[in-house]
């Protein structure tokens, strides 16, 4: 009975992810636009590294390192923002399509629906990031000879749980305010990445922001992946970051789900899912 229920829930989550992939296919033109935009943005940031190292007259290796440092920041920005957006915009998307009431009437736990969106967000963000990384790797002369790919992937996957949790917290905003909610999620996303040292070490941030950076999962993700790709840190060496990220994720996912459920109850009480007649 339990196995049957789990299987049914897994298939429902898969159904949500499958629907999102089908929508991506239908909006393929826009997908190409976003891919080109993100790739160009990554290349321009990488080129800042190239020109800065030339202007400084430093060694080629230092220049390569700076470029890699910036490109990793740009790729992580892309990955985490896509993942966060896909999870947090799930409700906004349903509102836009007018399907929110139908979906929310389905006899599934809300976690099943949100897990499907997260599953899609994870796959989609990963795919896009790999494509952009491929373009950046062809463009720049980056030294990846010491990169430990397994450790980097471990950090990335561990960070996803935290960002899903944050996405769930943000997903409630479009539920509460159809117009202002989606706008607020973009502000949250921007602030998360600003306070993460995306293109700089966090110690250049104002002192009052640094405690926030210390608890920001994006900071640990960037530090862990840079260590794995630039310094060849192995699984054991990135474990402190992985553990911090998993711990944050274990706290944030239930918190996100709880916030979402409180928000949904509020929307059902005040008629914010939809109201007419």
């Amino acid at each position: 009975m339990l196995m049957q229920e789990l299987r049914r829930s897994a298939l429902a989550s898969y159904g949500v992810a499958e629907r999102s992939f089908r929508l991506v296919k239908r909006y393929l033109g826009w997908e190409v636009v976003w891919l080109v935009y993100s790739a160009v943005s990554t290349l321009t940031i990488g080129l800042i590294g190239v020109s800065a190292s030339r202007a400084g007259g430093g060694e080629a290796a230092a220049g390569q390192n700076l470029t890699l440092y910036l490109v990793i920041g740009a790729l992580l920005w892309n990955y985490l923002s896509v993942l966060f957006q896909e999870v947090s915009n799930a409700v906004a998307w349903e509102r836009w399509e007018g399907t929110i009431e139908y979906t929310f009437m389905a006899p599934i736990h809300r976690l099943v629906y949100l897990a499907g969106n997260s599953l899609f967000g994870l796959g989609y963000a990963l795919l896009r990031t790999i494509l952009i990384f491929g373009i950046a790797a062809l463009w720049f002369d980056m030294d990846l000879s010491r990169a430990n790919w397994g450790a980097a992937l471990l950090v990335l996957v561990s960070s996803s749980l935290s960002f899903m949790g944050l996405g769930l917290v943000a997903a409630v905003l479009p539920l509460l305010s159809p117009e202002k909610g989606p706008q607020a999620t973009y502000i949250i996303q921007g602030l998360l990445l600003l306070v993460a040292g995306v293109y700089y070490p966090v110690d250049v941030l104002p002192e009052w922001l640094q405690p926030i950076a210390a608890i920001n999962p994006a900071t640990h993700t960037l530090d862990g992946i840079r260590a794995a790709l630039m310094e060849g840190a192995g699984v054991a060496e990135v474990m402190p970051w992985v553990l911090k990220l998993l711990l944050t994720g274990v706290l944030l996912v239930p918190l996100g789900l709880w916030v979402f459920q409180v928000g949904e109850q509020y929307a059902m009480r005040t008629g914010r899912l939809k109201r007419n007649g």
Binding site: R8, L11, A12, Y14, G15, V16, E18, R19, R22, L23, R26, Y27, E97, G98, T99, E101, Y102, T103, F104, M105, A106, P107, I108, H109, Q265, M268, R269, T270, G271, L273, K274, R275, N276, G277
Partner: protein, 298 residues
């Protein structure tokens, strides 16, 4: 009805073993009055927005297998009531039970028993009918193959050409989209089907086809149907009993014949005339907020 029987005949056959599909007791639903928003600083000082009641103490019961109509002008509270029954709105007062399950405390159990067709076709418009149906099948835990075969049979019956099922729904007419919505709802074999103005905006032929199909579905599957409409002809054709809803209240309830007799209408007269006699309003009148919504607090 091809066999000339009314849905109610089935109920009568059951004798005393009537199962209640829906029990609604004294439902009240209020909303904040959006026309007079309270600024944030005033809210922080404790000023609450004015509350207005969209549904005011509605009670009724529907036995299994009946098609029950809720009729009223736009803004009378029909859709709010349907949303409460559909677990999409929490009532402020009162209870709703579907086959004995409370819609607030046993939401998942209720959701397994119901489905809804709303006035606006709620679809991912860039996806095809079949893609939308597959998504619905997954959400309802149906094997995709079986569900699409079932939905395909329903769409065949409703006359939606096969080539129209694989193109984006936004390229279908409103009538065709509504047929897909009905197929999606019936695919899950709901015991209680909520039809919120399912034929509004359809051309006469599509309207007739959808109405025929509702009767057929009720006859063959025994589903209980709650239908909201402001089309009195449709209600008279489909429903055994109808309730007139006005300003958030049920102002009359009975079979079409009973209502006509109660308000002194000739049996050949339409329910529209009965509604006018009952409320002093025509169904085409849009209910304004000053009429519909009762101020309950300031």
């Amino acid at each position: 009805m091809s066999d000339g029987s009314k849905p109610g005949d089935r109920l009568a056959d059951r004798g005393n073993r009537t199962v209640l599909a829906l029990e609604v007791e004294n439902i009240v639903k209020r909303f904040a009055d959006d026309s007079e928003p309270v600024p944030l600083w005033q809210r922080l000082l404790g000023r609450r927005p004015r509350q207005v009641a969209a549904v005011r103490g509605v009670s009724f019961q529907v036995p299994e297998g009946e098609i029950f109509g809720i009729l009223g002008p736009n803004g009378s509270g029909k859709s709010t009531l349907i949303r409460v029954i559909a677990t999409l709105l929490l009532p402020d007062e009162g209870t709703v039970r579907i086959f004995g399950h409370d819609v607030v405390r046993e939401r998942t159990a209720v959701r397994q028993l119901i489905n809804r067709v709303s006035v606006e076709a709620a679809f991912f418009k860039k996806l095809s009918a079949m893609e939308n149906l597959m998504y619905a099948a997954r959400l309802y835990g149906l094997p995709v193959k079986e569900a699409t075969a079932r939905a395909g049979a329903i769409l065949d019956r409703l006359g939606l050409p096969r080539k129209k099922r694989v193109i984006p729904l936004e390229e279908l007419s409103r009538g065709q989209q509504q047929k897909v919505a009905i197929a999606r709802a019936l695919m899950t074999n709901p015991r209680l089907l909520l039809l919120d103005e399912p034929t509004t905006g359809l051309d006469p032929k599509s309207k007739r086809e959808v109405q025929d199909f509702i009767l057929e579905a009720q006859r063959e599957h025994g589903a209980t149907v709650i239908l909201t409409s402001h089309d009195m002809e449709e209600a008279e054709r489909l429903c055994q009993r109808v309730a007139f809803m006005d300003e958030g209240r049920f102002v009359a309830l009975g079979t079409p014949g009973e209502l006509k007799a109660q308000f002194g209408a000739h049996p050949e007269q339409s329910l529209e005339a009965v509604f006018l006699a009952c409320t002093g309003k025509g169904l085409g009148e849009e209910a304004g907020p000053d009429r519909v919504l009762e101020e309950v607090s300031a």
